[in-house]
């Protein structure tokens, strides 16, 4: 029987509203007790003074690249990166090769994840077969398999009719339809956000409206169908306004934003750094402020990484030929804390409790309470580290944060009572 006592931790648990220094006793797979003066007999003491203990993070948006691009990432390397980032669960994106649009691919990813055992992987499935935007996948069968979220990321479902049908059909299974909002004709050949900097750098711009028109349309369709819409990696202030208004009308609309969109703006592309080429693009300083405000007031429920590892040969190229995306699992906490003025409670809510709620994952996101699965992370919210100073566990080297100093470092991650990360090192 394994017993661990985390001593003197600041337990930040948005699901129960707990935020105070306490001890947490874990026995086997579950949290056994919380409080002071707990029975220490037979326990291994873990000093957590000055550290935060929180429910393990849940990522709504991870590209594990397997099957198909195992050179860029595998379920195993991505899982390890996730654990090192404090994650105990993640939602793997379906734009693999083959596309995760059938039970077979979903089961393959799940099997690979179970074998690795470092993080609970919940594969998302495509909304349409082959991400072609035309024919719905077998949403019912996939939902029965446990798929909670459907998305055609990095394609946007362009047809209003297909989107309407998906939202309506999926309602029967209470699953989420997540959209990468980007209108195709406004975004043809885009290289960055349209504005002063796209004009000056000579890079083809995509206006914020390319995202917002799809968000507006999808919100209208969610209202019509009473389906569950999720707007992923929101980048534009206009989208935040639309989502806030939809929520005010009681629609079932949720949204996430990435740590990098909370950090960078279009101006940062001045050096044509391909690690800063992401999809959707970094937008204006005003957009970034709207995103931060959206995170603070809850319009943006979750902070999700859009972890997108790429091979070096796909990034060490001309700017317009670089594949869009940055890695994110290992930098998410520090980046989020940096963008949110070090507000630990807010970061934990947006990275753990809220995404777990959106995915309907009962085991994750807290509450941290006796009898609950011990899915936890322990971090030092003030420790600084330079990104790149030690190798990434992800195969991707393409971090937008390379060379930056982040504050907030994961020390331990625990999945059902077993350390997946201990003292900053992955255990498997």
């Amino acid at each position: 029987m394994a017993r661990f006592l985390f001593r003197g931790a600041r337990l930040v648990d948005p699901a129960s509203g707990h935020d105070a220094v306490t001890d947490v006793l874990v026995e086997d797979e579950t949290v056994e007790a919380i409080g002071h003066d707990l029975d220490r007999r037979g326990t291994e003491l873990i000093d957590a003074e000055g550290l935060v203990l929180a429910p393990g993070f849940v990522d709504l948006h991870t590209h594990l690249r397997e099957p198909g691009r195992e050179d860029a990432e595998t379920v195993e390397t991505g899982s390890r990166a996730a654990a090192l980032g404090g994650y105990t669960a993640l939602c793997a994106m379906p734009n693999t090769d083959p596309v995760a649009d059938t039970a077979a691919v979903i089961l393959e990813v799940q099997n690979l994840a179970d074998k690795t055992g470092l993080v609970d992987v919940h594969p998302a499935a495509a909304i349409t077969r082959g991400l072609e935007g035309e024919r719905m996948t077998e949403i019912g069968e996939l939902a029965e398999l446990g798929v909670r979220l459907f998305t055609d990321d990095h394609e946007c479902v362009q047809s209003a009719q297909v989107m309407r049908m998906a939202l309506e059909y999926a309602r029967a299974y209470d699953v989420v339809i997540a959209q990468h909002a980007q209108e195709a004709t406004l975004s043809e050949g885009w290289q960055m956000h349209e504005g002063y900097w796209s004009a000056t750098l000579g890079l083809r711009g995509v206006p914020a409206e390319a995202e917002a028109v799809v968000v507006a349309r999808d919100i209208l369709l969610a209202g019509r169908t009473r389906g569950r819409l999720h707007v992923t990696h929101t980048s534009a202030g206009l989208s935040v306004l639309l989502i806030r208004q939809a929520r005010g009308r009681g629609l079932r609309v949720t949204a996430d934003v990435t740590p990098h969109h909370l950090t960078f703006i279009d101006q940062d592309l001045q050096g044509y750094d391909t690690n800063l080429r992401v999809n959707p693009p970094f937008r204006s300083a005003e957009d970034r402020e709207s995103l931060r405000e959206g995170v603070r007031d809850g319009t943006l429920d979750a902070v999700a990484t859009d972890h997108a590892p790429h091979g070096v040969e796909d990034k060490e190229v001309e700017f317009d030929q670089a594949r869009p995306g940055t890695t994110g699992l290992e930098t998410a906490l520090g980046a989020a804390l940096g963008a949110l003025d070090g507000d630990v409670g807010l970061a934990v809510a947006r990275m753990s409790a809220e995404p777990a709620r959106i995915l309907g994952l009962d085991e994750h996101g807290g509450p941290v309470a006796p009898g609950r699965p011990a899915n936890l992370t322990v971090f030092d919210p003030t420790a600084s580290w330079a990104v790149g100073e030690r190798p990434f566990a992800s195969k991707g080297r393409n971090s937008a944060f390379l060379g930056r100093t982040l504050r907030g470092r994961i020390l331990h991650t625990m999945l059902r009572g077993r350390f997946t990360v201990r003292d900053g090192e992955a255990t498997g």
Binding site: A199, G202, R204, G271, Y272, T274, E318, F319, D320
Partner: protein, 311 residues
């Protein structure tokens, strides 16, 4: 002097004046029977051209040869992707071969900046995508200076497809840096919405602007922009923004007509206008050599036209 020339925005007014002054003395070299000085003897200049541009490549080639540098032309018709070797591998190859300067023309904006991170050689941007074409702006400034005593207060219109024009960007930056008053003229779809932040004026009415100009600078308009819905027809474009015989008469007597070439005669410029004495388009070409000589000389160091060392 700067190590790489990637954008006109790197240059101070003093830098620009120094390049133009140096070009003045090199221009004389081009009039000699033996058009060659030993300034860059033993140095290697590579012309790395990912886009066909015979005129710019030849201009750089002549400039380097007149400075006695060894010149290697490395051209590829299509994109680097089509060619198979990455820009990085090509850069490392040129580096290993001991290039002192790499002159790069590339369809992707920012590739000279990217290249400069990979090589020790000086990188000169000879046109990158829709970003900049700094040597074009410098030769245009040189040409304007031949006709006007100062840039301060000079009124210049840049007319046409500013959105897709690297020449427009470099000239807008260069001219406003030197104190000229720049107006960008074209349909709203071809002027970036935020262009005013470059410190220039924007107009959609050429006829309104013409009578006040010292220089009317016309940009090449590509016919494919019509297909992309930037304007309804070439006919309408020519009618509203083409410099024809009637419009040229609205210009003040001393005003110059300029064009970076190659021209679409009958679209942005009428054939008879292109052949007027005030159209200094061939002077621009001639001056390109002297300006590029000056740049190579200043950036690579060496001995000057009369044998003096670079300061």
């Amino acid at each position: 002097m700067i190590k790489h020339l990637l954008s006109v925005t790197q240059l101070s007014p003093e830098d620009i004046t120094r390049v133009l002054d140096t070009a003045d003395s090199f221009r004389e070299v081009g009039t000699r029977v033996i058009k060659k000085v030993p300034a860059l003897r033993g140095r290697t200049v590579v012309n790395l051209f990912y886009e066909n541009s015979t005129r710019t490549r030849i201009s750089f080639e002549i400039a380097a040869k007149r400075l006695s540098a060894d010149v290697i032309n490395f051209s590829t018709g299509g994109s680097s992707v089509a060619k198979g070797e990455s820009l990085k591998d090509t850069a490392l190859t040129l580096e290993a071969m001991g290039a002192d300067a790499i002159v790069i023309r590339h369809p992707s904006s920012g590739s000279p900046t990217t290249l400069s991170r990979w090589v020790g050689a000086s990188v000169i941007n000879a046109g990158d995508g829709t970003h900049e074409h700094p040597t074009q702006a410098l030769l245009d400034l040189f040409t304007i200076r031949e006709h006007f005593p100062a840039f301060e207060g000079l009124r210049v219109a840049i007319v046409g497809d500013v959105l897709h024009s690297r020449v427009a960007r470099s000239n807008a930056h260069g001219l406003s840096r030197m104190g000229a008053e720049v107006t960008l003229v074209g349909p709203p779809t071809l002027i970036p919405p935020d262009a005013g932040a470059w410190g220039v004026e924007v107009s959609h009415d050429l006829d309104d602007v013409l009578p006040k100009l010292d220089v009317c600078y016309l940009l090449r308009v590509q016919r494919e922009r019509q297909r992309q819905q930037y304007f309804p027809s070439v006919r309408e474009y020519a009618r509203l923004f083409g410099l024809d015989r009637r419009r040229v008469e609205a210009l003040p007597d001393e005003a110059l007509v300029m064009h970076p070439g190659p021209m679409n005669r009958g679209v942005e410029i009428a054939s008879e206008v292109a052949d007027l004495p005030r159209a200094v388009i061939t002077d621009q070409v001639t001056n390109g050599i002297a300006v590029r000589m000056a740049l190579l000389y200043l950036m690579l160091g060496g001995t000057g036209p009369s044998g003096q060392e670079v300061a």
